[in-house]
């Protein structure tokens, strides 16, 4: 008689064997993927919050293909990963894990300040899969001929809106084509809710996320795409700031930081939030009771027929140059980020928006989402990726953002005569702080 223990183990073993056998056939279709038989070792990954959770969740599926690789995902705070990695790089790079999660906005600071801290992924085969990712997600990830990180998730901007509140005010989201339409709708919403509900929220004085999204949409950013000059005073940015000022002047904006935004939408005090696609998870996790009440539409354009795409946020994975198991590390980030299977799994599990172009074709992406009133929000969001203009955070991103926030807030409070004057001050300050010239 078999002991009960062994009885239980037999089918598991069978399943494992089956699982191991299945994907190896599928792999033949992807010639760029590393050969599982040549890859082994133990690797450690530093990541944060939901990103780390999504990666951990992926490990069993990865191990079915690469049984000889042991993956250890360390979930640290968002700021901790960056701070610790910078300090370790400054100290020579020894002590870094094999894989580090890097926020795209902060990426160039790593490569330019510490060019030998991370490995050139082209040496591991990235060049052959480069085209799988959108251009705007790759611009900060390389320096010279070297590519230091593989794009992970993106933050395609959209308007997250409350269907029920829009209905009360008689607003049809399909009729909002431009920001002017949006402002007019906002006024109606304000009137219909007796001034209680804001149309949109802005973290005036603390974060310029709304401005950045509108500026990128309008083809403008703090810096030029070659990273050689300051462009925040260019017409595209001026128009973006003027549009935000119009919203404030129309009385449809309420001031709120990250936490306050969450409290506001939970309490039904705002009808929309404008953020990157990753905010979908923030909404559904914080307000599960509002299922069915939310929807998504594309950013309104600056003029009829104009661009309705932008981006904020996004991250990538880099491999330490001191890694003892670089091949294994590459196999892991390849599976997680460069295959549809890996990316869509993380989208399902934690709402991370794939920066992989082919993910758009996945059936899950076009499936209706019940929380979102049956809307296929991922198709809506991912569909904008190809239209997102390229913009470059450069190594000075945080410095520029700190300066921009102050100028913007002062302009909205009426301390400058025009948006152009406010952004001229910001441009001069960014130039003085970074040493880059202001673009003519």
């Amino acid at each position: 008689m078999l002991a009960p223990k062994r009885l239980a183990r037999t089918p598991t073993l069978l399943l494992l064997l089956l699982a191991a056998a299945l994907p190896s056939r599928a792999e033949v279709s992807d010639p760029a993927s590393p050969n599982p038989e040549k890859v082994s070792g133990s690797i450690t990954v530093w990541s944060w919050n939901i990103a780390a959770e999504a990666l951990s969740n992926l490990v069993p599926a990865f191990n079915r293909r690469y049984p000889q690789v042991k993956v250890n995902v360390v979930n640290m705070g968002h700021g901790d990963v960056r701070d610790r990695a910078l300090v370790v790089c400054a100290a020579g790079g020894r002590g870094l894990p094999d894989i580090v999660t890097i926020e795209n906005q902060a990426a160039e600071q790593f490569w330019l300040q510490f060019p030998s801290c991370f490995m050139d992924l082209n040496r591991l085969g990235f060049a052959s899969i480069n085209a799988r990712f959108p251009a705007f997600q790759k611009i900060g990830l390389s320096a010279g001929a070297k590519t230091y990180a593989m794009p992970w998730d993106a933050g395609p901007s959209a308007v997250f809106y409350r269907r029920d509140l829009f209905k009360i005010a008689g607003i049809d989201p399909q009729s909002i084509h431009t920001w002017d339409d949006f402002i007019a709708a906002g006024k109606r919403l304000k009137a219909a809710t007796k001034g209680k509900v804001a149309m949109i929220q802005d973290d005036k004085g603390n974060d310029d996320a709304l401005f950045r999204q509108l500026a990128v949409q309008n083809g403008c950013f703090y810096f030029s795409n070659d990273g050689e000059s300051v462009t925040i005073s260019q017409p595209g940015c001026v128009e973006a700031l003027e549009t935000i000022k119009k919203m404030w002047d129309a009385g449809i904006v309420s001031s709120a930081g990250w936490d306050q935004k969450i409290q506001s939408f939970k309490a039904g005090l705002t009808a929309t939030e404008v953020y990157g696609g990753w905010y979908a998870g923030t909404i559904s996790n914080n307000a599960p009771d509002q299922a069915g009440k939310w929807g998504v539409f594309r950013l309104p354009a600056f003029r009829p027929g104009g661009r309705r795409a932008s981006n904020t946020g996004g991250s990538s994975l880099a491999i330490s140059s001191k890694s003892q198991n670089a091949q294994a590390a590459y196999a892991f980030i390849f599976y997680a980020l460069a295959t549809r299977e890996g990316q869509v799994s993380m989208l399902k599990h934690r709402g991370l928006v794939p920066a992989l172009l082919s993910a758009t074709d996945d059936p899950y992406v076009s499936a209706p989402q019940s929380y979102w009133g049956g809307q296929a929000i991922w198709a809506e969001l991912l569909g904008t990726l190809k239209d997102v203009p390229t913009y470059r955070p450069t190594r000075y991103y945080y410095e520029a953002a700190g300066i921009s926030v102050i100028a913007l807030s002062n302009y909205i409070d009426g301390k400058y005569p025009s948006a152009a004057a406010a952004l001229k001050v910001a441009a001069d300050r960014i130039a003085a702080s970074t040493g880059l010239p202001v673009a003519k």
Partner: protein, 321 residues
């Protein structure tokens, strides 16, 4: 009378007069004496060695290194020696000037307010009629023990414009609500309130120690002479408490110029940089922008500002002593 002031000043006095135990008179010839003295010095230093090693590694070296950083251009990799680079920027950087202004404004508003409250608190805690003095002393000292991060989070919630308890109370009393964290004056008030809440009790305990070292007989004599309690405070308490007040004041000035946690965690230096202090600006330059050269220069400016009045104060005290 000066020896009665406080343990600190008693210790200072002792150092100036030398050890209380007299040296043994040398009976041996001169060269043996020199040898013994050399050996004694060696032994003394070997006892000191563990401390000196730690001191050199974690204290002296960072000071020297950061001094070098302040004269380097960290915008290029690797950093280059460029003595004027950071110092010139300090003169023309509006954000640094704003941070300096904010720090000094906080210093001028917060420190006197806190010292006054601490003095009142110390005098009341020193009252003989006070019941459960141990409990009250602990209660007022407790804020220092609480983790800065958790207390900052609670202050953020309390002062939340839409949902905070402070605004609810104001609203209930029929007073106007304020968007505390999103207006410059509101945010500055929150920082002042938070720092005052945290450090008043600490300073009160220091002042209380000073109060308790004032001999009771002085008050008894004053009472016999029919001196009013206000005049007792004015002519006995205040003058004798002076060195302790100066000590607490100096430490508070240092603290204010290094102010970091409250503006960083409660107001995020905002809105629009309204609560950016030298501490938060230094942190950003150093650890966010990785411009250690500029951060070091800012650090030295803060240190110089903090040091100048305290050097002045110590000299004044020494003259009086």
């Amino acid at each position: 009378m000066s020896t009665e002031l406080s343990p600190i000043w008693r210790a200072r006095w002792r150092i100036r007069r030398g050890p209380l135990v007299p040296h043994r008179t040398p009976a041996a010839p001169a060269d043996t004496f020199a040898k013994t003295k050399y050996r004694q010095t060696l032994i003394a230093y070997s006892f000191l060695a563990p401390f000196l090693a730690v001191f050199l590694l974690f204290w002296a070296w960072p000071i020297v290194q950061s001094m070098l950083f302040a004269f380097q251009n960290w915008r290029v990799s690797p950093p280059t020696f460029d003595p004027a680079f950071n110092w010139l920027r300090l003169t023309s950087d509006p954000l640094f000037h704003a941070a300096l202004r904010n720090s000094l404004a906080l210093l001028i508003i917060q420190v006197p307010l806190m010292m006054l409250l601490a003095l009142l608190l110390a005098v009341s805690l020193n009252e003989r009629n006070l019941r459960y003095p141990g409990f009250f002393r602990f209660a007022f000292f407790a804020p220092v023990v609480i983790s800065e991060v958790s207390y900052s989070a609670i202050f953020r919630l309390l002062f939340n414009g839409d949902f905070g308890a402070i605004n609810s109370v104001l609203g209930a009393l029929g007073l106007p609500r304020t968007d505390w964290l999103n207006t410059p004056a509101g945010a500055t008030t929150v920082v002042v309130a938070a720092v005052t809440w945290r450090w008043t009790g600490y300073n009160a305990i220091i002042l209380l120690a000073g109060l308790q070292s004032i001999p009771r007989y002085l008050y008894e004599a004053a009472r016999l002479d029919g001196i009013s309690s206000f005049q007792q405070f004015r002519y006995i308490t205040l003058p004798l408490l002076r060195p302790v007040i100066v000590f607490a004041l100096t430490m508070s000035v240092f603290g204010s110029l290094q102010l970091f946690v409250e503006p960083h965690l409660i107001t995020h230096s905002g809105p629009a940089g309204a609560t950016e202090t030298l501490g938060t600006y230094l942190y950003k330059q150093g650890f966010v922008h990785f411009n250690f050269g500029y951060a070091a220069a800012i650090g030295y400016v803060a240190a110089l500002i903090a040091l100048s009045p305290s050097l002045f104060k110590i000299r004044m005290l020494e003259k009086k002593a």
